[in-house]
Protein backbone atom coordinates (compact mmCIF):
# COMPACT_ATOMS: atom_id res chain seq x y z
CA UNK A 1 0.00 0.00 0.00
CA UNK A 2 1.13 3.48 -0.87
CA UNK A 3 2.49 5.38 2.14
CA UNK A 4 0.54 8.55 1.29
CA UNK A 5 -2.72 6.65 0.93
CA UNK A 6 -2.13 5.02 4.32
CA UNK A 7 -1.37 8.32 6.06
CA UNK A 8 -4.13 10.45 4.56
CA UNK A 9 -6.92 7.92 4.05
CA UNK A 10 -6.45 5.64 7.02
CA UNK A 11 -4.19 6.95 9.77
CA UNK A 12 -5.18 10.60 9.93
CA UNK A 13 -8.97 10.10 9.74
CA UNK A 14 -8.71 7.52 12.53
CA UNK A 15 -6.57 9.79 14.66
CA UNK A 16 -8.92 12.72 14.08
CA UNK A 17 -11.81 10.62 15.36
CA UNK A 18 -9.75 9.67 18.36
CA UNK A 19 -8.70 13.28 18.88
CA UNK A 20 -12.34 14.36 19.02
CA UNK A 21 -12.94 11.84 21.82
CA UNK A 22 -9.79 12.98 23.64
CA UNK A 23 -10.92 16.60 23.42
CA UNK A 24 -14.36 15.61 24.68
CA UNK A 25 -12.79 13.80 27.63
CA UNK A 26 -10.68 16.85 28.48
CA UNK A 27 -13.49 19.34 27.99
CA UNK A 28 -15.79 17.34 30.27
CA UNK A 29 -13.13 16.77 32.95
CA UNK A 30 -11.07 19.94 33.24
CA UNK A 31 -13.73 22.46 34.36
CA UNK A 32 -15.07 20.12 37.03
CA UNK A 33 -11.55 19.11 38.01
CA UNK A 34 -10.76 22.79 38.60
CA UNK A 35 -13.97 23.34 40.56
CA UNK A 36 -13.29 20.24 42.66
CA UNK A 37 -9.72 21.38 43.24
CA UNK A 38 -10.87 24.78 44.50
CA UNK A 39 -13.52 23.24 46.75
CA UNK A 40 -11.13 20.67 48.24
CA UNK A 41 -8.33 23.20 48.79
CA UNK A 42 -10.64 25.73 50.45
CA UNK A 43 -12.31 22.98 52.46
CA UNK A 44 -9.00 21.69 53.70
CA UNK A 45 -7.57 25.11 54.48
CA UNK A 46 -10.60 26.94 55.85
CA UNK A 47 -13.21 24.27 56.60
CA UNK A 48 -14.10 22.93 60.04
CA UNK A 49 -12.00 19.98 61.28
CA UNK A 50 -14.33 17.36 59.78
CA UNK A 51 -14.45 18.96 56.33
CA UNK A 52 -10.72 19.58 56.47
CA UNK A 53 -10.06 15.94 57.34
CA UNK A 54 -12.35 14.70 54.56
CA UNK A 55 -10.55 16.85 51.99
CA UNK A 56 -7.16 15.73 53.22
CA UNK A 57 -8.18 12.07 53.09
CA UNK A 58 -9.61 12.43 49.59
CA UNK A 59 -6.35 13.89 48.32
CA UNK A 60 -4.36 11.22 50.16
CA UNK A 61 -6.36 8.37 48.58
CA UNK A 62 -6.15 9.75 45.05
CA UNK A 63 -2.46 10.60 45.34
CA UNK A 64 -1.73 7.20 46.81
CA UNK A 65 -3.34 5.01 44.15
CA UNK A 66 -2.82 4.67 40.39
CA UNK A 67 -5.35 6.42 38.17
CA UNK A 68 -5.68 3.22 36.16
CA UNK A 69 -6.89 1.42 39.28
CA UNK A 70 -9.47 4.15 39.86
CA UNK A 71 -10.75 3.76 36.29
CA UNK A 72 -10.97 -0.04 36.70
CA UNK A 73 -12.97 0.39 39.90
CA UNK A 74 -15.31 2.92 38.30
CA UNK A 75 -15.90 0.88 35.17
CA UNK A 76 -15.52 -2.77 36.19
CA UNK A 77 -16.07 -2.60 39.94
CA UNK A 78 -19.05 -0.33 40.50
CA UNK A 79 -21.56 -2.38 38.45
CA UNK A 80 -21.24 -5.01 41.21
CA UNK A 81 -22.84 -2.52 43.61
CA UNK A 82 -25.46 -1.46 41.11
CA UNK A 83 -23.77 1.63 39.65
CA UNK A 84 -23.11 1.34 35.95
CA UNK A 85 -21.30 4.03 34.00
CA UNK A 86 -20.60 4.04 30.29
CA UNK A 87 -16.87 3.82 29.59
CA UNK A 88 -16.80 7.51 28.65
CA UNK A 89 -18.57 8.63 31.83
CA UNK A 90 -16.40 6.38 34.00
CA UNK A 91 -13.30 7.94 32.42
CA UNK A 92 -14.57 11.47 32.95
CA UNK A 93 -15.44 10.76 36.60
CA UNK A 94 -12.00 9.24 37.16
CA UNK A 95 -10.24 12.18 35.52
CA UNK A 96 -12.26 14.71 37.52
CA UNK A 97 -11.36 12.99 40.80
CA UNK A 98 -7.68 12.70 39.88
CA UNK A 99 -7.39 16.18 38.37
CA UNK A 100 -9.32 17.68 41.30
CA UNK A 101 -7.08 16.10 43.93
CA UNK A 102 -3.85 17.33 42.35
CA UNK A 103 -5.31 20.76 41.55
CA UNK A 104 -6.32 21.01 45.22
CA UNK A 105 -2.69 20.68 46.27
CA UNK A 106 -1.51 23.41 43.88
CA UNK A 107 -4.31 25.71 45.03
CA UNK A 108 -3.68 24.94 48.69
CA UNK A 109 -0.06 25.93 48.26
CA UNK A 110 -1.20 29.22 46.74
CA UNK A 111 -3.75 29.80 49.52
CA UNK A 112 -1.04 29.35 52.15
CA UNK A 113 1.16 31.87 50.34
CA UNK A 114 -1.40 34.69 50.65
CA UNK A 115 -0.40 36.87 53.59
CA UNK A 116 -2.60 36.75 56.68
CA UNK A 117 -3.11 40.53 56.48
CA UNK A 118 -5.40 40.15 53.46
CA UNK A 119 -7.88 38.12 55.48
CA UNK A 120 -7.50 40.40 58.51
CA UNK A 121 -8.17 43.54 56.44
CA UNK A 122 -11.22 41.95 54.79
CA UNK A 123 -12.66 40.89 58.13
CA UNK A 124 -11.96 44.31 59.62
CA UNK A 125 -14.27 45.74 56.94
CA UNK A 126 -17.10 43.48 58.08
CA UNK A 127 -16.69 40.69 55.53
CA UNK A 128 -17.46 37.17 56.63
CA UNK A 129 -14.69 34.61 56.24
CA UNK A 130 -16.45 33.19 53.22
CA UNK A 131 -16.78 36.64 51.56
CA UNK A 132 -13.11 37.27 52.23
CA UNK A 133 -12.10 33.91 50.73
CA UNK A 134 -14.21 34.50 47.62
CA UNK A 135 -13.41 38.14 46.93
CA UNK A 136 -9.93 38.57 48.34
CA UNK A 137 -8.06 35.31 48.93
CA UNK A 138 -9.08 33.09 46.01
CA UNK A 139 -8.59 35.68 43.23
CA UNK A 140 -5.01 36.13 44.41
CA UNK A 141 -4.35 32.46 45.11
CA UNK A 142 -5.68 31.26 41.74
CA UNK A 143 -3.33 33.63 39.94
CA UNK A 144 -0.42 32.13 41.83
CA UNK A 145 -1.65 28.61 41.15
CA UNK A 146 -1.72 29.03 37.36
CA UNK A 147 1.71 27.47 36.70
CA UNK A 148 0.85 24.41 38.79
CA UNK A 149 -2.68 24.13 37.43
CA UNK A 150 -1.47 24.33 33.84
CA UNK A 151 1.01 21.57 34.59
CA UNK A 152 -1.82 19.43 35.87
CA UNK A 153 -3.93 20.28 32.81
CA UNK A 154 -1.09 19.03 30.60
CA UNK A 155 -0.97 15.83 32.63
CA UNK A 156 -4.71 15.48 32.04
CA UNK A 157 -4.19 15.71 28.27
CA UNK A 158 -1.73 12.84 28.51
CA UNK A 159 -3.40 10.62 31.10
CA UNK A 160 -6.68 10.88 29.17
CA UNK A 161 -5.05 8.08 27.11
CA UNK A 162 -5.75 5.73 30.03
CA UNK A 163 -9.41 5.81 28.99
CA UNK A 164 -8.37 3.37 26.28
CA UNK A 165 -7.78 0.79 29.01
CA UNK A 166 -11.50 0.82 29.74
CA UNK A 167 -12.49 0.67 26.05
CA UNK A 168 -12.82 4.34 25.15
CA UNK A 169 -11.28 4.73 21.71
CA UNK A 170 -9.59 8.07 22.12
CA UNK A 171 -6.44 9.35 20.42
CA UNK A 172 -3.99 6.73 21.72
CA UNK A 173 -6.51 3.96 21.30
CA UNK A 174 -7.23 4.98 17.72
CA UNK A 175 -3.50 4.95 17.01
CA UNK A 176 -3.12 1.52 18.61
CA UNK A 177 -5.96 0.08 16.49
CA UNK A 178 -4.45 1.38 13.26
CA UNK A 179 -0.99 0.25 14.28
CA UNK A 180 -1.99 -3.34 15.00
CA UNK A 181 -4.28 -3.66 12.02
CA UNK A 182 -1.69 -2.41 9.48
CA UNK A 183 1.51 -3.33 11.36
CA UNK A 184 2.61 0.30 11.28
CA UNK A 185 3.70 0.79 14.89
CA UNK A 186 6.37 3.38 14.30
CA UNK A 187 4.39 5.64 11.97
CA UNK A 188 1.14 5.38 13.92
CA UNK A 189 2.58 6.01 17.36
CA UNK A 190 4.86 8.77 16.03
CA UNK A 191 1.79 10.49 14.59
CA UNK A 192 -0.08 10.08 17.90
CA UNK A 193 2.88 11.58 19.72
CA UNK A 194 2.95 14.56 17.38
CA UNK A 195 -0.76 15.25 18.00
CA UNK A 196 -0.14 15.23 21.78
CA UNK A 197 2.82 17.57 21.32
CA UNK A 198 0.63 19.95 19.35
CA UNK A 199 -2.05 19.86 22.08
CA UNK A 200 0.51 20.56 24.78
CA UNK A 201 2.11 23.35 22.75
CA UNK A 202 -1.26 25.06 22.27
CA UNK A 203 -1.90 24.74 26.00
CA UNK A 204 1.47 26.22 26.89
CA UNK A 205 0.95 29.23 24.65
CA UNK A 206 -2.61 29.71 25.93
CA UNK A 207 -1.41 29.59 29.55
CA UNK A 208 1.27 32.20 28.83
CA UNK A 209 -1.34 34.50 27.35
CA UNK A 210 -3.71 33.88 30.27
CA UNK A 211 -0.94 34.54 32.77
CA UNK A 212 -0.01 37.89 31.29
CA UNK A 213 -3.69 38.86 30.97
CA UNK A 214 -4.44 38.31 34.66
CA UNK A 215 -1.10 39.53 36.01
CA UNK A 216 -1.50 42.33 38.56
CA UNK A 217 0.26 45.50 37.34
CA UNK A 218 3.28 46.57 39.35
CA UNK A 219 4.19 43.07 40.54
CA UNK A 220 7.24 41.13 39.40
CA UNK A 221 4.89 38.53 37.95
CA UNK A 222 3.53 41.14 35.55
CA UNK A 223 7.05 42.10 34.51
CA UNK A 224 8.06 38.49 33.85
CA UNK A 225 4.88 37.73 31.97
CA UNK A 226 5.39 40.77 29.73
CA UNK A 227 8.79 39.45 28.63
CA UNK A 228 7.31 36.22 27.32
Amino acid sequence: MDQAVFVFDILLPALMQGLVVTLQLIACSAPFGLALGIAVAVGRQYGNPVVSWLCKTFVFLIKGTPLLLLLFILYFGLPAVGITFTAFVASVVGFILCNGAYNAEYIRGALISIKEGQMVAAQALGMTRWQAIRSVILPQALRRAIPGLSNEFIYLIKYSSLAYMITVIELSGAGKLVATKYFTYTESFAAVGIVYLVLVTITTVAVNILESRVAVPGTTRAATAAQL
Binding site: Q118, A124, L125, G126, M127, Q131, S135, V216, G218
Partner: protein, 251 residues
Protein backbone atom coordinates in the same frame (compact mmCIF):
# COMPACT_ATOMS: atom_id res chain seq x y z
CA UNK B 1 -20.17 64.76 80.46
CA UNK B 2 -23.36 63.62 78.77
CA UNK B 3 -23.47 59.85 78.52
CA UNK B 4 -24.95 60.02 75.00
CA UNK B 5 -21.71 61.52 73.76
CA UNK B 6 -19.88 58.29 74.42
CA UNK B 7 -19.60 56.34 71.19
CA UNK B 8 -17.21 53.63 72.34
CA UNK B 9 -16.81 52.15 75.80
CA UNK B 10 -14.01 49.75 76.62
CA UNK B 11 -14.30 47.93 79.93
CA UNK B 12 -11.60 45.98 81.71
CA UNK B 13 -10.03 44.26 78.70
CA UNK B 14 -7.70 41.35 79.52
CA UNK B 15 -5.75 39.32 76.99
CA UNK B 16 -3.04 36.70 77.36
CA UNK B 17 -1.01 34.91 74.74
CA UNK B 18 0.22 31.68 76.24
CA UNK B 19 1.36 32.59 79.72
CA UNK B 20 2.07 36.18 78.77
CA UNK B 21 -0.61 38.60 79.94
CA UNK B 22 -0.44 41.39 77.37
CA UNK B 23 -3.46 43.38 78.52
CA UNK B 24 -4.22 43.52 82.24
CA UNK B 25 -7.46 45.41 82.54
CA UNK B 26 -7.78 48.40 80.23
CA UNK B 27 -10.85 50.65 80.38
CA UNK B 28 -11.71 53.96 78.77
CA UNK B 29 -14.58 55.84 77.14
CA UNK B 30 -14.39 57.56 73.78
CA UNK B 31 -16.58 60.57 73.07
CA UNK B 32 -17.85 61.26 69.57
CA UNK B 33 -15.38 63.35 67.58
CA UNK B 34 -12.55 62.68 69.98
CA UNK B 35 -9.00 61.61 69.08
CA UNK B 36 -7.27 59.40 71.60
CA UNK B 37 -3.62 58.57 71.12
CA UNK B 38 -1.96 55.51 72.67
CA UNK B 39 1.72 55.76 73.36
CA UNK B 40 4.12 53.43 75.07
CA UNK B 41 7.00 51.00 74.73
CA UNK B 42 6.71 48.11 72.27
CA UNK B 43 5.03 45.00 73.56
CA UNK B 44 2.74 46.79 76.00
CA UNK B 45 -0.39 45.64 74.23
CA UNK B 46 -1.38 48.78 72.29
CA UNK B 47 -1.98 46.99 68.99
CA UNK B 48 -3.59 44.04 70.75
CA UNK B 49 -5.93 46.50 72.46
CA UNK B 50 -7.11 47.89 69.11
CA UNK B 51 -7.66 44.36 67.80
CA UNK B 52 -9.65 43.48 70.90
CA UNK B 53 -11.98 46.41 70.21
CA UNK B 54 -13.15 45.04 66.83
CA UNK B 55 -12.69 41.43 67.97
CA UNK B 56 -10.02 40.55 65.42
CA UNK B 57 -8.41 39.27 68.59
CA UNK B 58 -11.13 38.21 71.03
CA UNK B 59 -10.30 39.43 74.54
CA UNK B 60 -10.19 36.90 77.39
CA UNK B 61 -12.21 39.15 79.64
CA UNK B 62 -13.90 42.54 79.47
CA UNK B 63 -16.42 44.17 77.23
CA UNK B 64 -16.62 46.65 74.39
CA UNK B 65 -19.69 48.75 73.66
CA UNK B 66 -20.42 50.74 70.53
CA UNK B 67 -23.25 53.25 70.79
CA UNK B 68 -24.71 51.32 73.73
CA UNK B 69 -24.63 47.94 71.97
CA UNK B 70 -22.27 45.21 73.09
CA UNK B 71 -19.61 44.36 70.51
CA UNK B 72 -18.08 41.53 72.52
CA UNK B 73 -20.10 38.29 72.44
CA UNK B 74 -22.17 39.62 69.54
CA UNK B 75 -21.90 36.43 67.43
CA UNK B 76 -22.47 36.97 63.72
CA UNK B 77 -23.43 40.60 64.36
CA UNK B 78 -19.74 41.31 64.79
CA UNK B 79 -19.61 41.87 61.02
CA UNK B 80 -22.04 44.77 61.46
CA UNK B 81 -19.90 46.30 64.21
CA UNK B 82 -16.73 45.89 62.17
CA UNK B 83 -18.27 48.07 59.45
CA UNK B 84 -18.84 50.71 62.11
CA UNK B 85 -15.33 50.37 63.55
CA UNK B 86 -12.85 51.08 60.77
CA UNK B 87 -9.26 49.93 60.98
CA UNK B 88 -6.02 51.11 59.41
CA UNK B 89 -2.97 48.85 59.67
CA UNK B 90 0.75 49.47 59.92
CA UNK B 91 1.37 47.56 56.68
CA UNK B 92 -1.74 48.87 54.90
CA UNK B 93 -3.01 45.40 53.94
CA UNK B 94 -4.52 46.71 50.71
CA UNK B 95 -6.01 43.95 48.56
CA UNK B 96 -3.07 43.35 46.24
CA UNK B 97 -5.07 42.25 43.19
CA UNK B 98 -7.38 45.28 43.09
CA UNK B 99 -6.91 48.89 42.01
CA UNK B 100 -7.15 51.65 44.61
CA UNK B 101 -10.73 52.28 43.53
CA UNK B 102 -11.71 48.60 43.73
CA UNK B 103 -10.05 48.35 47.15
CA UNK B 104 -12.37 51.05 48.44
CA UNK B 105 -15.41 49.71 46.55
CA UNK B 106 -15.15 46.06 47.51
CA UNK B 107 -16.78 46.11 50.93
CA UNK B 108 -19.42 48.60 49.71
CA UNK B 109 -20.44 46.06 47.06
CA UNK B 110 -20.05 42.85 49.06
CA UNK B 111 -20.90 43.92 52.59
CA UNK B 112 -23.18 46.91 52.18
CA UNK B 113 -24.80 45.52 49.02
CA UNK B 114 -24.51 48.84 47.23
CA UNK B 115 -25.14 49.13 43.48
CA UNK B 116 -22.11 49.43 41.19
CA UNK B 117 -22.59 53.06 40.20
CA UNK B 118 -23.29 54.21 43.74
CA UNK B 119 -20.32 52.28 45.16
CA UNK B 120 -18.00 53.75 42.54
CA UNK B 121 -19.24 57.25 43.26
CA UNK B 122 -18.73 56.80 47.00
CA UNK B 123 -15.30 55.22 46.55
CA UNK B 124 -14.16 58.12 44.38
CA UNK B 125 -15.44 60.59 46.97
CA UNK B 126 -13.43 58.86 49.70
CA UNK B 127 -10.31 58.75 47.51
CA UNK B 128 -10.73 62.51 46.96
CA UNK B 129 -10.87 62.95 50.75
CA UNK B 130 -7.36 61.52 51.03
CA UNK B 131 -6.07 63.14 47.85
CA UNK B 132 -5.81 59.88 45.90
CA UNK B 133 -8.53 60.26 43.24
CA UNK B 134 -5.90 60.61 40.50
CA UNK B 135 -4.50 57.22 41.49
CA UNK B 136 -7.85 55.40 41.46
CA UNK B 137 -6.83 53.00 38.69
CA UNK B 138 -3.43 52.10 40.09
CA UNK B 139 -2.65 48.85 41.84
CA UNK B 140 -1.13 48.69 45.35
CA UNK B 141 2.24 47.57 43.96
CA UNK B 142 2.36 50.81 41.96
CA UNK B 143 1.82 53.07 44.98
CA UNK B 144 4.28 54.50 47.50
CA UNK B 145 3.78 53.52 51.12
CA UNK B 146 2.22 56.87 51.92
CA UNK B 147 -0.18 56.62 48.99
CA UNK B 148 -1.10 53.05 49.90
CA UNK B 149 -1.82 54.10 53.48
CA UNK B 150 -4.03 56.95 52.28
CA UNK B 151 -5.99 54.50 50.12
CA UNK B 152 -6.40 52.21 53.11
CA UNK B 153 -7.75 55.18 55.10
CA UNK B 154 -10.22 55.85 52.27
CA UNK B 155 -11.21 52.17 52.38
CA UNK B 156 -12.00 52.47 56.08
CA UNK B 157 -13.85 55.79 55.59
CA UNK B 158 -16.08 54.30 52.88
CA UNK B 159 -17.99 52.25 55.41
CA UNK B 160 -19.02 55.45 57.25
CA UNK B 161 -17.53 54.19 60.51
CA UNK B 162 -18.36 55.67 63.92
CA UNK B 163 -14.74 55.32 64.92
CA UNK B 164 -11.48 54.42 63.15
CA UNK B 165 -8.67 52.49 64.80
CA UNK B 166 -5.19 53.37 63.54
CA UNK B 167 -2.59 50.72 64.36
CA UNK B 168 0.80 52.45 63.98
CA UNK B 169 -0.26 53.90 60.63
CA UNK B 170 3.10 55.54 59.90
CA UNK B 171 5.56 53.09 61.42
CA UNK B 172 6.38 51.54 58.04
CA UNK B 173 6.94 54.92 56.36
CA UNK B 174 9.88 57.30 56.02
CA UNK B 175 9.49 60.85 57.44
CA UNK B 176 8.35 62.38 54.14
CA UNK B 177 5.60 59.80 53.62
CA UNK B 178 4.73 59.89 57.31
CA UNK B 179 3.93 63.58 56.96
CA UNK B 180 1.48 63.07 54.07
CA UNK B 181 -0.39 60.39 56.04
CA UNK B 182 -0.46 62.47 59.23
CA UNK B 183 -1.84 65.43 57.26
CA UNK B 184 -4.78 63.27 56.18
CA UNK B 185 -5.34 62.08 59.74
CA UNK B 186 -5.23 65.63 61.09
CA UNK B 187 -7.81 66.65 58.52
CA UNK B 188 -10.07 63.79 59.59
CA UNK B 189 -9.70 64.78 63.23
CA UNK B 190 -10.59 68.38 62.42
CA UNK B 191 -13.66 67.20 60.52
CA UNK B 192 -14.88 65.41 63.61
CA UNK B 193 -13.94 61.78 62.96
CA UNK B 194 -13.58 59.74 66.13
CA UNK B 195 -10.14 58.16 66.13
CA UNK B 196 -8.04 55.86 68.30
CA UNK B 197 -4.43 56.05 67.23
CA UNK B 198 -1.50 53.90 68.30
CA UNK B 199 1.60 55.80 67.27
CA UNK B 200 5.08 56.90 68.21
CA UNK B 201 4.59 60.31 66.59
CA UNK B 202 4.70 62.68 69.57
CA UNK B 203 4.19 65.70 67.34
CA UNK B 204 0.93 64.27 66.06
CA UNK B 205 -0.15 63.31 69.57
CA UNK B 206 0.48 66.82 70.88
CA UNK B 207 -1.23 68.65 68.05
CA UNK B 208 -4.26 66.42 67.51
CA UNK B 209 -4.98 64.26 70.54
CA UNK B 210 -7.73 65.24 72.96
CA UNK B 211 -6.28 62.70 75.29
CA UNK B 212 -3.10 60.65 75.45
CA UNK B 213 -3.07 57.25 77.11
CA UNK B 214 0.39 56.12 78.08
CA UNK B 215 0.46 52.34 78.27
CA UNK B 216 3.01 50.27 80.12
CA UNK B 217 2.94 46.55 80.99
CA UNK B 218 -0.60 46.03 79.77
CA UNK B 219 -2.28 48.85 81.67
CA UNK B 220 -2.92 52.54 81.10
CA UNK B 221 -0.22 54.05 83.30
CA UNK B 222 -0.99 57.72 82.66
CA UNK B 223 -3.92 59.40 80.98
CA UNK B 224 -4.66 63.03 80.22
CA UNK B 225 -4.32 65.85 77.73
CA UNK B 226 -0.93 65.93 75.96
CA UNK B 227 -0.13 69.17 77.71
CA UNK B 228 -0.84 67.69 81.11
CA UNK B 229 1.25 64.56 80.61
CA UNK B 230 4.17 66.51 79.18
CA UNK B 231 4.29 69.43 81.59
CA UNK B 232 2.56 68.60 84.85
CA UNK B 233 5.20 67.44 87.35
CA UNK B 234 2.80 64.85 88.81
CA UNK B 235 3.18 62.81 85.61
CA UNK B 236 6.63 61.36 85.04
CA UNK B 237 6.42 58.03 83.26
CA UNK B 238 5.57 59.20 79.78
CA UNK B 239 8.18 61.96 80.04
CA UNK B 240 10.75 59.32 81.04
CA UNK B 241 9.74 57.21 78.07
CA UNK B 242 10.02 60.12 75.63
CA UNK B 243 13.33 61.11 77.21
CA UNK B 244 14.66 57.63 76.57
CA UNK B 245 13.62 57.83 72.89
CA UNK B 246 15.15 61.31 72.48
CA UNK B 247 18.46 60.36 74.06
CA UNK B 248 18.65 57.34 71.79
CA UNK B 249 18.01 59.53 68.75
CA UNK B 250 20.81 61.90 69.80
CA UNK B 251 23.34 59.08 70.06
Amino acid sequence: MNNNDIVLRVEDIHKSFGGNEVLRGVSFDVRRGETKVFIGPSGTGKSTLLRCINQLTPPDRGRVWLDGEEVTNSGARINYFRQKIGMVFQNFFLFDHLTALRNVELALLKVRGMGKAEAREKALTELRQVGMEDWADHYPAELSGGQAQRVSIARALAMDPDVILFDEPTSALDPELTREVLEVMKKLAREGMTMLVVTHEMGFACSVANEVLFMENGVVAEQGSPDLLLHDPRFTRMKDFIGRIDSRMED
